[in-house]
Amino acid sequence: MVVPLYNEAAVVGEVVEGLRRSFAHVVCVDDASRDGSGDAAARAGAVVVRHPVNLGQGAALQTGVDWALSQPGTRFVVTFDADGQHQVADAMAMVERLRSGEADVVIGSRFLDGRTRVSPLKRAVLRAAVVHTNATTGVRMTDAHNGLRAMTREVAASLDITQNRMAHASEIVEQIGRGGWRWVEHPVEVLYTDYSVAKGQSVLNSVNIVTELIFK
């Protein structure tokens, strides 16, 4: 269970505790948070890998994946956001689908059922991201920027995320497409609490993502 972590001290303890009830191994990659997030995660029972300097979410994900692969017993790797927007039940269902051998990668999508409420502007931006990702990667997905993904060890080992900042989401999709892995989408709920809305991706950040993708 890989949780990239940056300045989420207020909620990460709760998130990790929730995860630990169902998943034995939770690693939080603390991306040089300044608010003690790493300690909060460690108290809640996660292994904490600390970046000495802030590198971005893509780098944190890759570090977490590297850690998971360094552990001998790892069969599946799940990425999960630290801000509490994902549901543990969704993650468990996704791992179950991996375990059944149905696919190598299960990717969360907030648009497959009606549970997630998205503001019209955000929906438009996410749709644009999907159109772009589909056009450039040849993988047809309904939600390109979802932090909840589950994959087998083999897929995790094939990932090489070079986009340190936010453009890594498209990069992961691209690498899954290129690797020829069997992937499915799984409907997940993204809970936009006041906290995650205040903290999360502003729509403006999509400008950064587009720039990073063009000048990669």
Partner: protein, 185 residues
């Protein structure tokens, strides 16, 4: 953006002069832009790139000195190329240089960023692994101790306080000269 800038000023220039000559500068500038674009696509800097950069710095210094000593050379060069004035030619050259500088420094920053990423990741993983191994070791020792306690409750030997080691300082004092009372009085 800079390209747009070059092109728009070029448009004005050809409007002034027209003729075949302005084609020459257009071709030259386009070639320059092409080289910069190629740099951008080619990416990684190598030792050869560095050598080229150094040669260019020397050439730049030489040209700068030359244009100080013979300012009219820009004018004649401009006329030769079909640009109206020497200052215009200087402007185009500057834009090209700035463009090239932007691209090379962007590439170098990106390479540096990648190196920093790899380094920090290695560091973070090593630290976490060391912490994990230490925790495992401590747990192992705790378990071993607990097992021992269960198997044979330790009858603790009464701790004898260690005898303090007394150093014989006699000779040291003997070596010192005897105090002479009244000396400072």
């Amino acid at each position: 953006m800079l390209c747009v800038c070059v092109c728009s000023t070029l448009g004005e220039v050809s409007g002034h002069d027209g003729g075949v000559e302005s084609v020459l500068i257009k071709v030259l500038l386009m070639a320059g832009i092409g080289v910069v674009a190629l740099l951008f696509v080619r990416g990684h800097s190598t030792a050869r790139h560095q050598a080229v950069r150094r040669v260019m710095v020397v050439a730049f210094a030489g040209l700068a000195t030359a244009s100080l000593l013979f300012p009219q050379t820009w004018q004649s060069a401009a006329e030769l190329l079909g640009v109206g004035r020497g200052t215009d030619l200087l402007l185009y050259a500057t834009i090209l240089v700035v463009l090239g500088f932007m691209v090379t420094s962007y590439l170098r920053t990106r390479d540096l960023q990648r190196q920093v990423t790899v380094l920090s990741r290695r560091l973070a993983l090593d630290e976490a692994l060391a912490a994990q191994q230490q925790a495992a070791l401590v747990a192992q020792q705790e378990a071993a101790r607990a097992a021992l306690e269960v198997a044979a409750p330790v009858t603790r030997v009464a701790q004898v306080p260690p005898t303090p080691v007394v150093v014989d300082e006699g000779p040291v004092f003997a070596a010192l000269p005897a105090p002479r009372p009244g000396r400072w009085v």
